[in-house]
Homo-oligomer: 401 residues x 2
Amino acid sequence: MAQTNGDAVPASPKAEFLSVESILEEHVPADKLAQVKGVLYGLNCGKPVAAVPLPAELTSAAAASGYDLQAYRFDAAPEQLRPPRIVRIGLVQNGIKAPTTAPYAEQREAIHQRVRELIDAAGAAGVQVLCLQEAWHMPFAFCTREKAWTEFAESVEGPSTRLCQELARKHNMVIVNPILERDEAHGQTIWNTAVVIGNNGNVIGKHRKNHIPRVGDFNESTYYMEGNTGHPVFETAFGKIAVNICYGRHHPMNWQGFGLNGAEIVFNPSATVGALSEPMWPIEARNAAIANSYYVGAINRVGTEVFPNAFTSGDGKPAHKDFGHFYGSSYVAAPDASRTPALARTLDGLMVADCDLNLCQQLKDKWGFRMTARYDMYAGQLARYVQHDFKPQVIRDPSLE
Amino acid sequence: MAQTNGDAVPASPKAEFLSVESILEEHVPADKLAQVKGVLYGLNCGKPVAAVPLPAELTSAAAASGYDLQAYRFDAAPEQLRPPRIVRIGLVQNGIKAPTTAPYAEQREAIHQRVRELIDAAGAAGVQVLCLQEAWHMPFAFCTREKAWTEFAESVEGPSTRLCQELARKHNMVIVNPILERDEAHGQTIWNTAVVIGNNGNVIGKHRKNHIPRVGDFNESTYYMEGNTGHPVFETAFGKIAVNICYGRHHPMNWQGFGLNGAEIVFNPSATVGALSEPMWPIEARNAAIANSYYVGAINRVGTEVFPNAFTSGDGKPAHKDFGHFYGSSYVAAPDASRTPALARTLDGLMVADCDLNLCQQLKDKWGFRMTARYDMYAGQLARYVQHDFKPQVIRDPSLE
């Protein structure tokens, strides 16, 4: 299976496997596999999440161009007073396409070219709402702590937005465009931002990443601060969407914030590596879909990015030039606890999913999480907790005195 | 493989399989299995979660008595200024042991006898903190909506507590005892309560279930209301523990509440059935362990319980006498996203796990979720949300007008 993140980029030092799903499909007999998948992937309307056929020219183009193309469908129960509200969403994961030593303009153009190809494929597949990965227009260079990489930062109206606007108009598609933003209105401040572009090509608005990591080589707080845009929900032609950027997925109240504002689909554009977070990846986005009764599109970067200068990682190990393997594995999780398989761990990819948005309210009514959430109790608890002299509610065993 | 929930109780109508793990172990080659488990079960200190050997007399007693006995170890990194703080915890899952048509005293005594056997085994295995499943002393009869079953309710000082006190003293063990509580001090009100018993046999305190389901046949709101005990953390001889009872696992802020008060281990005693919740089961407790940097012991009832009178389920299907299969599958999740395999789906069981509590603070420092949580922002959001005239933060695409 070809690595697709560019000949110029060395493969990961350890051999990476394609996907958990490909191993299970190869080795577990069909009847047993159905039992395993029933537990691990759930059921939608009582059945396994169904694959959707795509035109043969799309699947052969994907094979020829070396990216993983998968498509699935989430149904809802028929209702008497509402028609189905089926939205076709798309998730794009991609590696960088030129070595990090190439001129920046060339690096950006190489990624633009690949992403244009993938969005055009999504358009041909009828995708209506698409999300790209975090800071998709550049290498994820924050591991280096070098400030030169901030040249990649763009304004909300910059070249990556313009590309997405062109493609949004071309395909009548809402596009979520996560960029490294330079905020000219506030003295060239840098943010980690998702620009939401409507299906008519206009910028509807932006959301800035609420929670910023200081984990391992994710030195993002060296570059930008916590966002100041709250938890906006964007009402588009194809549903109410929101964006929980990367590390925000570890914060259940961040997911909840978008839910309280009415999101039906929340995208989680990410960039995360195997040794750090892979066991969390199938858990957090899915938990959010369950707890908040909405769809989640979880998107991760793919490939290994090698930087010009060696850097240390605060772990006592020798300086090195790469950050680990971005394991892709993008997937869609539904409010009924079902999910799609993951895209490949080692290939660019496009995940297509038909989502009946009626499922969101159906699950709210079935499980009643909003009704039973006791928000007033938690508003009080948090108001107390943020006081510096907060006293935890602890009952100490008196027999220990 | 023998069903252990009593000869008098019919097996589930559909054949139930033992566990996902047993299927994977049987069919997936070792090298591939390591890759799959690395993603699905995580790594602890860079290695698969290790099994711990138990004395041969314990494993042979478990086999002879038809329960699943498993033991694992979670390590933390060595520290210079703190010794390891290793606590051996135990989770017990069990079926009912007499038909639901038997006299209530006989039903309760039959369960007491089995649970005494399992706690004695835990004591022999050196377990220091043990938790039983939700309302373990009775069939989970709330599906029937019949009030007669409330006879099983007990005061906090009742017979099931007295059994646990005796065993706590005998084994120098903290025992979490989840009962259906009758509150004599408040006019015989019924609650769903966990009584926490110290290793000296004293009752340290109680916690009442914060969130009550109205889902499928879980007619619990017919019997009892939302708890009034907040999010207490119990400081025991072996660490700070808390109890998130059953449906509270679907509420991320409930998990968080115990974390804010300093819990190091949170038990989730549950009673839930396959068709309803099984795909959620591996997700929610584990997400809580990750997000709150504590251990979670997730415990589910096992077996199929058949009631004397047929009841309907609000789904248009004919009246029936059972509620579905309680799928067991109890497991321990660690703050580093690793977890144990699950206990069997069809057998009583005892899960033993050594948990180095130092791992909690180490993960807090590694991931910084507390530091980056922006509680003040969420305190404000919730205070606004609970107002009846709350206006969601929605940005509508102006081009749609």
